[in-house]
Symmetry: D2
């Protein structure tokens, strides 16, 4: 990975080669800021690039928006999109849609283009499938000016994420969130050790398993449930094997046990936030809260 | 409905007509206790009838066990079982099985008969589908003597329930359980009024909706979620529309809201018990416990 | 006790004798409403009497206010006040003040009379000592009109309470509150039975024991902690012998136990309200909330 | 402070001067282990010194026990004890006893000496005043052999603490505990920032304020409530200014507020343990638990 110092020393061709791809098929954005080197921070560099977009002639802006592929569109299915776009769409599961879901995306894409004249742009790494669809529907009700602004905001999110994978240095923008948990066995007055946990994403009425893990000696997980990336906006369910925990400790709790698999269902609204969702349990009770 | 006083005055034919059907195709049980009138309590009457079964010759006992229909068996599908049995099996959903489930019951029935020589008898009103199947599997591991005892115990449960629908009087045995809930909005320090609640039974990996209701001015439901009957042993999920509750009160809680539909998953192990499963909630936390 | 029907049939002298004392040394209030018989409800009768006070000439109103004794004043110490006043002041502990507290009341009484020209009137049955003092200080900042209204409101509270002890009938005003508790042992999944509980009032930095009781088979107390009277506004502490409970059940919880006596400290602000203050506990955790 | 490496290189006189005072008036203990250098860990050094005590002739052991001052005894009042003992006793407040408390200690000291023939020895840094007294009473019931063992165990605690203040190096024994808290405002779904907290020790029916602090941006305190020392065994109360917190945020909660100062009362039983005692609160509810 490049350092910001490296970048600040580069001539125009090298500079454009290095960070041109950050803006989809728009190397001119990188070119436009070359003269403003040196940049003190990565955030400063990104702000300068977004300024270049915002102050470009309307025509260039629209051409730039047009260069973005449809979400889950035919171009994506046929592979005719940039590698960055491909990876991003795959990360949200958009490459594994049923025919019905594909049709729904197709119709929404058509409606959106018809209304605004450019493709629907969203930073898919910040959303679950469900959230992309609800954003689609919500943004179709915008007026043209508001939606143009929203599209630029999404481009800012997309390009910020692409930039930080290419250049490291001072003043990195905050792009990662964190989802963590902690299980306290308040029957025993100790962290619950070795309890199985599974995290699911809820999309389209289905539960998609994302993480399977187990609590460590402190009742936490060795790795955050989600970390080092934006938390996709959407609905989740954490399931804890509370029944197994007490069964293995010979604590009587009924047959079948009053609590077996305990689900905690919650939503994430801030992709760059920290969500701590702990479980306090006995064989007969449990509670959760948004912690810190 | 008859009173115990009426029954105590009846001659043999009337007595047998009145409570003979309580024991499946075994009017001799009623006949055997006629001479022991008057009965002071319904429980006393039922104990006497079970005594008659327990002290009958082995041959009569086995004939009696044989008179019971297979669970979800062909006889049931073809309608060749008593009305009581039909109603009881339908109550547990055994009349609406998929072909696969029907086959599973068929295989278990065969295995059980092969091992013990009489049909699998269980008081279905005290069980969910899942619990019937797990009992089936557990009881197939019993030895003959233990299983004979278990079958009689189930007959005691079945007949107790049949008896109390036919005769009223002093000393009614406790046959009903109660499942209730209560929602406290600890953000507002008040009961949560008008919150939608849905109760599901979990069987075979499916959620079956049992009750749809809404909280009243005290945060409770006007009727118990389940009452005036045994609580079927099994797994349940209560879902509370917490997100709608706070949305309608303009309490900000994220977009999407941190908590939307809150599921509480628990099991019932005591059909004649009282299960109180309350919810304490804020837009950012919730807890539950087995209350009283 | 009289019934409203009895009262509605009384001639003037009997009527005045019966309910004249409800308004302190002001039998004219009863006399003024005699002609408005019959009254359909106790609330209606009380409203009529308050109307008579509100529409009396200013002079009579002031004379009436002047007829009230100072709170914890010399008249009270010397016994020269009505029996009703004596009982009411004693109920709030105003007859057992230290010399320092007595001096403080004396100074406040003087200041109040100097500012408003009549004695400080408050329905002492609705307040603890602390609350009376804080009301005293707050009301000393009122302007004359607001304070005159406040004094009448307090007279309404006082007389409502005096009326309902003399006459029973339809439409009784709500004058009683209720304070209750409930202890759930969520370690065992059952109500905590036989747990010692003590309720204290906090006034002047001291804890005054009000109630000593024990939980019954349902984890509740046989009687409400406070009931059949207004709940005095003020601060309280409930103490639960959680350590003894688990010690007697051989549940290990540390030496000394992590939780021994658990205090719940809360305030009452609505004398006619229902305060339910439950405790959910394990040897290692507890929670409380304003329930219903 | 010395390092273990320095110590390992010392000749006998320097070695004895450096760590001789660790064992009260018994430099022979240090002398006895000089030949066993080099020590790989501080724990190993301490174990060797305790071995020297345990294997010394009975006579030397008793002389060593006799060299310890009475707790809160006349020697302490007159200053005729070692500086280490003085500091340790003062840390537990034993230098600020009332005459009554002083008499009680005096009587217990006499009784203990009469029974066991040596002074009562306890590692006061691991106890509150209350806990010292309850240990005194409990140990007076021991038989001589058990009590001799207990006295040596306490000497081990005392000397371990003295040793780690003089020598640093590998394998430090764990001598410090930690008491921490965390306040989550589950009404707002955020840590409670700027909430005043006060920690009290309960001894002899009195509350002694130990720490006054305030929550930081994460709802925690910048420093642990107690840290870098053993946690004294005993009873504590944490008080949280919950009422002020919500008042300053204009959240209505009654007048007076339902919750104002919230006390959490708990005990510490493991001086080298970590006690995390968090508060989850709304204006109408709170909970706590032993966390981690």
């Amino acid at each position: 990975m490049l350092t910001l110092a490296d970048l600040n020393r580069m001539d125009m061709p090298a500079f454009e080669a290095a960070i041109g791809p950050v803006f989809e098929r728009a190397p001119w954005v990188a070119a436009a800021v070359h003269a403003r080197r040196p940049f003190a921070t990565i955030s400063g560099l990104h702000d300068a690039m977004m300024d270049a977009v915002r102050t470009a002639p309307r025509e260039s802006q629209l051409a730039f928006l047009h260069n973005h592929p449809d979400l889950a569109g035919k171009a994506a299915r046929l592979g005719a999109i940039t590698d960055d776009s491909k990876r991003e769409q795959a990360g949200a599961g958009l490459d594994r849609l049923s025919d019905e879901q594909f049709s729904r995306f197709h119709l929404l894409n058509e409606a959106y283009r018809a209304r605004f004249g450019f493709p629907f742009i969203i930073c898919v790494r910040r959303h679950t499938r469900d959230s992309i669809l609800s954003q689609f529907e919500r943004r179709l009700t915008h007026d043209a000016a508001a939606e143009f602004e929203t599209a630029l905001q999404e481009i800012s999110y997309i390009t910020r994420l692409r930039l930080v994978t290419r250049v490291a240095g001072e003043g990195m923008p905050r792009v990662d969130g964190r989802l963590s948990t902690h299980v306290l066995d308040i029957h025993a007055g100790r962290p619950a050790v070795g309890m199985a946990i599974e995290l699911y994403e809820l999309s389209g009425g289905q539960f998609y398993s994302i993480v399977t893990t187990v609590t460590n000696a402190d009742g936490r997980t060795d790795q955050p449930l989600i970390g080092d990336r934006p938390l996709p906006i959407g609905r989740y369910e954490l399931r804890f094997a509370v029944g197994d925990h007490y069964r293995s400790r010979d604590v009587p709790s009924g047959d079948p046990p009053f609590l077996d698999v305990v689900p905690l269902r919650f939503s994430i609204a801030e992709p760059e936030g920290h969500y701590h969702v702990p479980l306090l349990c006995t064989p007969w009770s449990y509670s959760t809260y948004r912690g810190s």
